[in-house]
């Protein structure tokens, strides 16, 4: 049976663990609110961008010299996967879920005989995938230490992808990230970036059926709009992933706090029982000693 002293110190250590997990839960809840409002603020831009792209893309996509970013290289051999995870752990299954999803995807693609290249955003995903796929890595980006995600961060990622596209280093680019469904559920999702999936648009209906005029030309606008669209898609994924990370951490820490509480109850019960047993034992010793006299 454990001694009273060792029980006491275990109770104390579990108590301080509970304090930490509780504090982490509070912090995650506050950050979650911020991340959610940021994700919401980015939504109008993305929606309008989509609408504009729908009306533009449809008319250009069929022309033979359509930009690569819209129609791809025509081949389907080299896949670039951009895997978005968190920079920190202790967020429940958040990082492992994306990691596992990415691993399954990489295996499937390689099974079909395609070449896979990996670019990770966030330290945890890099650590997870490196063990198995180190030779496919072409880069990792970390946003650790940033207080607030900015659009410029997403633009940096987009610039890297654009540069690679221009150099012809891949044919298809997809983004793997945790989509934020609600605080408890995050869904690992794959989203294709290049060739750009065209939203089914009825945008022209809104313009009274008339076609848009373009200034300067359709091609020039599209050439500016597409990289911007790429950046906004990435920005959106980063924001969703950030919100999901906090949500997942909050749930994980809530569970941890509850488990610590249960553990403390159990240990306290055990402690009291042991204490009583000790007292009883001493009493018996005294009484039987007195009787013997």
């Amino acid at each position: 049976m454990p001694s009273l002293k060792s029980l006491r110190s275990r109770i104390n250590s579990v108590k301080s663990t509970r304090k930490i997990t509780q504090a982490m839960k509070m912090v995650a809840a506050a950050k979650l609110r911020r991340a959610q409002s940021q994700a919401e603020a980015a939504r109008p831009y993305a929606e309008r961008m989509e609408r504009m792209l729908a009306s533009l893309g449809a008319s250009v996509a069929s022309s033979p010299d359509a930009p690569r970013m819209l129609v791809g290289t025509g081949a389907d051999n080299v896949h670039l996967l951009v895997v978005v995870t968190a920079d920190r752990g202790l967020a429940g299954p958040f990082n492992t879920n994306v990691g596992r999803f990415a691993r399954a995807r990489i295996r499937a693609l390689e099974g079909e005989g395609k070449t896979v290249k990996i670019l990770t955003v966030g330290r945890k995903g890099a650590a997870y995938l490196k063990r198995e796929f180190a030779s496919r890595f072409i880069g990792e980006i970390t946003l650790a230490g940033k207080k607030r995600l900015e659009f410029a961060d997403a633009q940096d990622v987009a610039h890297r992808i654009t540069a690679m596209l221009e150099a012809g280093e891949f044919d298809v680019c997809s983004l793997l990230y945790n989509r934020f469904r609600n605080v408890i559920t995050q869904v690992p999702t794959e989203q294709r970036l290049i060739p750009a999936p065209l939203p089914e648009g009825e945008a022209t209906a809104d313009a009274g059926g008339a076609l848009y005029e373009y200034e300067p030309t359709e091609e020039e606008i599209l050439a500016q709009l597409l990289p911007q669209n790429l950046a906004i898609q990435i920005y959106r994924a980063l924001l969703e992933s950030a919100a999901g990370e906090q949500g997942s951490r909050m749930t994980a820490m809530d569970n941890a706090t509850r488990n610590a509480g249960e553990m403390i109850n159990k240990l306290t019960l055990n402690y009291n029982r042991t204490r009583q047993a000790n007292i009883t034992k001493e009493l018996i010793e005294i009484i039987s000693g007195a009787e013997a006299v």
């Binding site: 603020a41 309008r48 809104d206 313009a207 300067p216 911007q228 906004i232």
Partner: protein, 136 residues
């Protein structure tokens, strides 16, 4: 006078969404005054100031660093790369960013023409930002 819906959004937030009488937009090929019932257009923007007029008065001035505008007879949507009310611009900040843009332009000197153009556009838009800050 008929009004139309003006929306100004940047990737980070929705800055403006209301009925206005007229908007003057810094399009890539010159300033454009838009009234209700304008023909549908999609235009690229350069760095400059969007002026909003309501009831014959200029009520709002916002600096945009480039982007796009979608114009329909009943609605104008401006997708700005970055947008700030003119009153909140700071001259020193603008000077700093001009410095950055100049460095980027110098670095792009041996790059492809497209990159050079992009760097040039950035520099011009930052200069427009300084001018706007100075005038405010």
């Amino acid at each position: 006078m008929a009004n139309f819906q003006l929306e100004l959004v940047s990737p980070e937030k929705l800055l403006l969404s209301r009925e206005v009488e007229m908007a003057i937009i810094p399009a890539a090929e010159g300033e454009m005054g838009v009234l209700a019932g304008h023909a549908p257009m999609i235009v690229a923007l350069r760095g400059g100031i969007i002026r909003v007029r309501e009831n014959g008065q200029e009520t709002e001035r916002l600096f945009v660093a480039g982007g796009f505008a979608e114009i329909t007879p009943t609605r104008v949507t401006v997708l700005a790369d970055e947008a700030t009310p003119v009153a909140e611009l700071s001259r020193t900040e603008a000077e700093r960013r001009i410095g950055e843009a100049e460095a980027a332009y110098a670095a792009a000197a041996s790059d492809t023409p497209e990159h050079r153009d992009a760097a040039m556009a950035r520099l011009l838009s930052m200069r427009a930002m300084r001018d706007a800050a100075q005038a405010a």
